[in-house]
């Protein structure tokens, strides 16, 4: 009888432990991110530089690189930050100071900071997925697989400024790709093929594949392949405000610049923007973030569900890679971040 009671009490503890496990924020995060048919390939959560959660699916392991798509834009901005720290360029100067060809196309009023802010003012049609649209007139399609493949930098320069020189915010894979054209122009010839590794990837000890156009200019808008753990290191670099193992990669001013809103991004009250633009990065729409109690975030966001989420105040990094092309239901990024934040707060003692 006594044994039975003890067993009964023990089983009660076991059940309550199970219930507690099922309702922990970390478990809830996993259930949301890996809900049936979500096509999440990997999810990693770090706090204070420590791995708290890691899971791979759909045939991926920690050793597979994953296509980063537009997360490449944010990584390219980090490369520009490193080149600025090395005094190779000034983002406030005209692009004509670095690319004489820009003069021929009357684009001397545009600066590197405008490209970093998706605000070059150059004509751009970012549409590409709608099978009913005129896919031949998609600027992205032509940049990556058509007229632009020979020389992406010159391809960008051939685009007009329809707003008569006025800088307007227009999310553009072309603007981000052009950054690597500027980078190639400002580094010594011997570094043209190596600068992303020399100034960013090698110091972080990460192995990255970076596709190029036919001239050898890196595809800064979309062509990076990276392992999720390596992508998380780029996130950590922002938490460490540009310092890595005692070596400065970019300045603290660069981190603050990245984390600022382009003055051209004036969709602040629009419900159609769940994310707001930073400089080649994103943040959660503050109204949504406030409602979900998510602190200030810096997010790299790529096609078909690639995300690098940095929450500096919690020293938190979240990586989600996936393949949303076959699913009707979007991966719920906000709910995943919300649960991740709760899990990190719990770990850090309810800060």
């Amino acid at each position: 009888m006594k044994t039975k009671i003890i067993l009964f009490i023990a089983s009660l503890f076991a059940v309550s432990a199970l219930v507690a496990a099922n309702t922990s924020p970390l478990t809830e995060m996993e259930q949301i991110a890996f809900a049936p048919n979500t096509q999440t390939d990997s999810l990693l959560l770090y706090a204070d530089g420590e791995l708290m959660f890691e899971r791979y699916e759909n045939g991926y392991t920690k050793d597979n690189k994953h296509v980063a798509w537009s997360v490449s834009k944010s990584i390219s901005s980090a490369i520009i930050g490193a080149l600025v720290y090395q005094n190779k360029l000034d983002i406030k100067k005209s692009i004509c100071d670095y690319l004489p060809a820009a003069k021929e196309f009357n684009h001397c009023d545009i600066r590197t900071t405008d490209f970093l802010s998706w605000s070059s003012g150059l004509y751009w049609n970012e549409m590409y997925e709608d099978a009913n649209s005129d896919r031949e007139q998609s600027s992205v399609g032509q940049l990556l697989y058509g007229d632009g493949t020979a020389d992406t930098t010159k391809f960008m320069l051939t685009h007009p400024s329809p707003n008569a020189g006025k800088k307007v915010w227009n999310y553009s894979t072309g603007d981000s790709t052009f950054l690597m054209g500027i980078a190639k122009a400002v580094v010594p010839k011997a570094e043209e093929q190596t600068f992303p590794w020399k100034y960013l990837f090698d110091p972080l000890e990460i192995d990255v594949t970076f596709g190029q156009d036919q001239l050898g200019t890196f595809g800064g808008g979309s062509s990076i392949y990276i392992r999720p753990r390596d992508l998380a290191r780029i996130g950590e670099l922002y938490i460490k405000r540009g310092m890595w193992n005692g070596k400065r990669i970019f300045s603290e001013e660069w981190v603050d610049y990245t984390n600022s809103r382009p003055e051209t991004f004036d969709f602040l009250d629009s419900a159609s923007f769940p994310m707001h633009s930073k400089r080649s990065w994103w943040t959660i729409n503050p109204k949504i973030a406030q409602a979900k109690k998510i602190p200030d975030s810096l997010i790299a966001n790529g096609h078909w569900g690639q995300y690098l989420v940095i929450i500096p105040s919690l020293k938190m990094v979240l990586v989600r890679m996936g393949n949303n092309q076959d699913i009707a239901q979007e991966f719920d990024l906000i709910a995943t971040i919300e649960k991740a934040v709760r899990a990190v707060e719990q770990k850090q003692g309810g800060k």
């Binding site: 759909n58 045939g59 991926y60 050793d63 597979n64 690189k65 994953h66 296509v67 004509y123 099978a131 896919r135 031949e136 007139q137 600027s139 399609g141 032509q142 990556l144 697989y145 058509g146 007229d147 493949t149 051939t158 685009h159 007009p160 329809p162 093929q193 590794w197 192995d207 990255v208 594949t209 970076f210 596709g211 190029q212 036919q214 062509s223 392949y225 393949n323 092309q325």
Partner: protein, 102 residues
């Protein structure tokens, strides 16, 4: 009246001039997409053939894929059409696959 027409036509000419007219036809865009993404999926991401052929699919499903594993290259054409296939070939770990020029 003539004056208004001139103004109108110059305005519309200006508007047309603002939008570039791209030249590469859809067949080339689609076969290059199919070839390069299958190639990078196989030799950079190191996923299997079924996964990669599905990953790089395009609507409508008329763009074919032929994998040459020995040469780490992928060619793509259009089923039922005698066009010259586009070939993407793995170059190296740093830059991945590249479209081969003629």
């Amino acid at each position: 009246m003539k004056f208004i027409l001139i103004i109108l036509s110059s305005v519309s000419a200006l508007a047309l001039a603002e939008i570039p007219h791209y030249k590469t036809p859809l067949v080339i865009l689609a076969t290059r997409y199919r070839a390069i993404h299958t190639c990078n999926c196989l030799y950079v991401m190191k996923m299997n053939q079924d996964y990669c052929v599905n990953y790089s699919k395009i609507d409508p499903p008329i763009f074919t894929v032929v994998i040459d594993a020995a040469n780490k290259s992928v060619s793509s054409g259009v089923s039922g059409q005698p066009i010259k296939p586009v070939v993407a070939k793995f170059a190296n770990d740093r830059t991945g696959c590249r479209i081969q020029n003629d």
